[in-house]
């Protein structure tokens, strides 16, 4: 079995990990009743009540799924 000959330095480890980057999600921007709303394109969105409790998923004015 192949084994590493030398200990990986902290510098090399951190240089490698510095390349891990989060990619930006693509979002759609719409204005609903004066508020700018960002959402994932072509995806159902969560409808919540006043307290922020999720009620159901909605897409194109149609209820998709209860939560």
């Amino acid at each position: 079995m192949a084994v590493p000959k030398r200990k990986m330095s902290r510098s090399n480890t951190r240089s490698r990990r510095a390349q891990w980057k989060a990619s930006e999600p693509t979002l759609t921007t719409t204005v609903e009743r004066g508020q700018v709303v960002h959402a994932r394109p072509h995806q159902a969105r969560v409808v919540t009540d006043s307290a922020g409790t999720p009620l159901y998923l909605e897409y194109k004015g149609r209820k998709v799924k209860d939560l």
Partner: protein, 186 residues
């Protein structure tokens, strides 16, 4: 006709894929709407729609062919007696896939696949009626029915759009009315 599936099977083997698709289709017909991953939903769609097409033909030979994949007799009965008549007016497009975002745990993209059991919209129904009317009256007189058909189409289109817009506004506005109620109670 869907194109043959390229690449690896679902679940790791052809037999496993057949089992997965048969089970998913059974659950879909039983519950009308199921949540699964996007990849499985996309594979399931043509599979389930072919079964519905067979159910719409409704004879014994087609029932036996459906029984080869769906082994639950009660589900097959439900498919032939409830789902197939509901889809009678529809020419394909029996299922709908809505994406609902990644799953917690493995970040797999999830989707809801459901049977489209709503009746055809008023617009589609009137268009079909008009086409039938033109086909029937075409040999007799060609010019007069076409004018009538165009008029009905226009009115039907406006009628169909208005309720749809109302319904959308109502469903979206509902959550916003709740905060006012909450403040009133407090």
């Amino acid at each position: 006709m869907p194109t043959p599936t390229k690449g690896p099977r679902l679940g790791g083997g052809p037999a496993h894929e057949r089992l997965i698709l048969a089970n998913l289709a059974t659950q879909l017909f039983e519950h009308r709407s199921i949540t699964t991953t996007e990849a499985k939903a996309k594979r399931l769609r043509p599979f389930a729609e072919q079964l519905i097409t067979k159910a719409k033909r409704g004879d014994l030979a087609n029932r036996r062919r459906v029984m080869q994949t769906i082994r639950d007799k009660s589900v097959v009965h439900f498919l032939f007696t409830e789902i197939a008549p509901a889809m009678a007016e529809r020419e394909g497009g029996y299922t709908r896939i809505v994406k609902i975002g990644p799953r917690k745990g493995d970040n797999a993209p999830m989707a809801v696949i459901q049977l489209v059991l709503e009746p055809l919209s008023a617009k589609q129904a009137t268009v079909r009626e008009a086409e039938k009317a033109t086909a029937a009256s075409a040999p007799a007189a060609e010019e007069t029915p076409e004018v009538a058909v165009e008029e009905t189409d226009d009115t039907a289109a406006t009628d169909a759009e208005a309720p749809a817009a109302d319904a959308e506004a109502g469903s979206v506005a509902q959550p916003d009315t709740l905060p006012e109620d909450g403040e009133g109670k407090a």
